[in-house]
């Protein structure tokens, strides 16, 4: 096996085993910090040993055993409480491969602990990405545009608070569950989005392990709360988005927008499952929340065999409903994209321009403007908007797409300043 092959095996094992390992280690040793460190050391050991010794027959079992040893070593080293040590030794002899239910349960415990309301939202997201998603601290720091040291500190502080204040490692009681679930959904949606539109110049444009993990965890929550409309809505939204994943990035690593996607390449099974969930929520007859409306919008998109068959008036109606639930400028921006199809780019551009104050730092605002200006034949201004969007976009596929679109614009050599001057002259 070549070094590259071994690297690939380790990467896959990391994706598949990390959350399960951390969750099981946390249950066994009652300490997130020990669990995280032991899991990380097990992978570091694999990186050191597997190239020379070869990949073990069952990488997951090898990693689990190694992580357990690392955890016990650390507990011994630190000379922790006697009972902890005994417990550790006893549990070490356990069969590491428990039944699937126990594994799922462990992961749910882990995620509810990481998403505890006594932690700040950004801390919950960071902790979930580290402990459940297995992202490294530098990756998380990059995703949220904070210094690596600050992110490391945030995670360390959170682990210390969980331990010292004794945030319990368990799935909340039935009466607390609904409130706790909406906090978890917010975190899972952020994780999904980071996978769907990964940031960072050295990152794959789509990190399937993050979208898949977010979906897996949302499915678990759904199994736990089958009646919760927003859980079903978020799952449907993720499935209908995930269904388009492979069609969304070209072989050359460029973003393919919805209107240019090969709809035959969409995952029909995921689309069908998403549609089923949306219909189930419609049948429930309960006023939908944000995720359910977003899922319904995606259901309309994925119902059209061709972009020209898209029911834009239905989509605009759903966005109107969404604005009432969530009047954020990003929702208004997305509504404007639908308005462009229904009422034309001129009307849409007017709506988009009203968001300038609030969205000037958001790449999608500039990308949307650029596209509308292009459709209106205002190449100069379109170019300036593309420049700004490219500057702000963090996703490699999106940057590639925006760059191509910009370079396809008529005049190639006009500067942004030129464009600005011309705009004032218009």
């Amino acid at each position: 096996m070549s070094v590259a092959d071994i690297q690939e095996v380790i990467t896959r094992a990391h994706r598949e085993e990390w959350a399960r390992m951390v969750a099981a280690l946390t249950r066994r040793f009652g300490d997130l910090d020990i669990a995280e460190e032991a899991a990380a050391e097990a992978f570091a050991t694999a990186v050191g040993r597997w190239p020379a010794d070869g990949v073990p027959a069952n990488p997951g079992a090898w990693l689990t055993t190694t992580a357990n040893r690392k955890a016990i070593d650390r507990i011994r080293r630190e000379n922790k409480r006697d009972d902890k040590q005994k417990e550790a030794r006893l549990l070490y002899d356990d069969d590491p491969s428990g039944p699937l239910d126990a594994i799922d349960d462990d992961r749910l415990r882990l995620i509810f602990t990481c998403c505890h309301p006594a932690l700040a939202l950004e801390t919950r997201v960071a902790l979930t990405l580290r402990m459940v998603g297995g992202l490294t601290v530098p990756e998380i720091a990059r995703a949220f545009l904070v210094q690596e040291a600050a992110m490391g500190q945030r995670i360390t502080r959170a682990k210390a608070k969980i331990k010292t204040a004794r945030i319990p490692y368990r799935v909340p009681s039935t009466e607390d569950l609904p409130g706790r679930v909406s906090g978890v959904l917010a975190v899972l949606f952020l994780v999904f989005n980071e996978g769907y539109l990964a940031t960072g110049p050295d990152t794959d444009p789509v990190r399937h392990e993050l979208t898949a993990e977010a979906i897996r965890l949302t499915r678990l929550i759904r199994a736990l709360l089958p009646q919760d409309g927003e859980v079903a809505g978020l799952l449907a939204l993720m499935l209908l988005t995930e269904a388009r994943r492979t069609a969304r990035v070209s072989a050359g690593g460029e973003l393919v927008t919805l209107d240019e996607q090969d709809r035959g390449a969409w995952d029909a099974a995921l689309v069908a499952e998403g549609h089923r969930l949306v219909r189930e929520r419609l049948a429930a007859g309960v006023a939908p929340g944000r995720y359910q409306i977003l899922a319904a919008i995606n259901a309309v998109h994925t119902s059209a065999r061709d972009i020209r068959d898209t029911d834009w008036s239905q989509i605009v109606a759903l966005y109107d409903q969404l604005v009432r639930v969530d009047p954020s400028p990003i929702v208004v921006l997305n509504r404007a994209v639908a308005i462009a199809e229904l009422d034309g780019p001129e009307v849409a551009l007017a709506a988009v321009d009203r968001l300038a104050d609030r969205l000037a730092g958001y790449h999608a605002y500039h990308a949307t403007r650029a596209d509308l200006l292009r459709r209106l034949g205002r190449s100069q201004q379109s170019r300036a908007a593309y420049d700004k969007a490219i500057e702000l976009a963090g996703n490699t596929a999106e940057t590639a797409y925006l760059t191509r679109r910009r370079d396809q614009l008529g005049r190639a050599r006009d500067s942004a300043a030129d464009g600005d001057r011309r705009r004032t002259e218009e």
Binding site: H116, A118, T164, A165, R166, I167, P168, D176
Partner: protein, 107 residues
């Protein structure tokens, strides 16, 4: 596991008779349910004296160690198996005493 639930006073005036009655009722419940360790109300910060005896001779300073609009007006020490239980009790406590509270674990 024990938690300190500090009552943060951020307005004017002490607890009203209604608030006192609500606090008493809540304390009875804490005792009945086995969460009670200790509780008490405190005199205002102007009644505080700060002492520093690190230098061999005790130094007394009139007033609180930090002047602030928000100050500790009282506290509970509660027994709870974990933070979830402590947070629920503290939320009840906040409602009964009509003040913000802060929860901190004892080490």
């Amino acid at each position: 596991m024990q938690y300190l639930v500090s009552v943060i006073h951020d307005g004017a005036g002490l607890a009203t008779p209604d608030e006192m009655a609500a606090i008493d009722a809540f304390n009875d419940r804490l005792q009945a349910e086995g969460h009670w360790v200790f509780a008490g109300g405190l005199g205002s910060p102007s009644t505080a004296t700060v002492i520093d005896n690190r230098g061999g001779e005790a130094l007394f300073t009139d007033g609180p160690f930090v002047e602030s609009k928000e100050y500790l007006a009282g506290f509970w020490v509660m027994a709870a198996p974990d933070l979830d239980v402590a947070l629920k009790l503290a939320a009840e406590g906040s409602k009964h005493c009509n003040r913000k509270v802060e929860v901190r674990p004892f080490l």
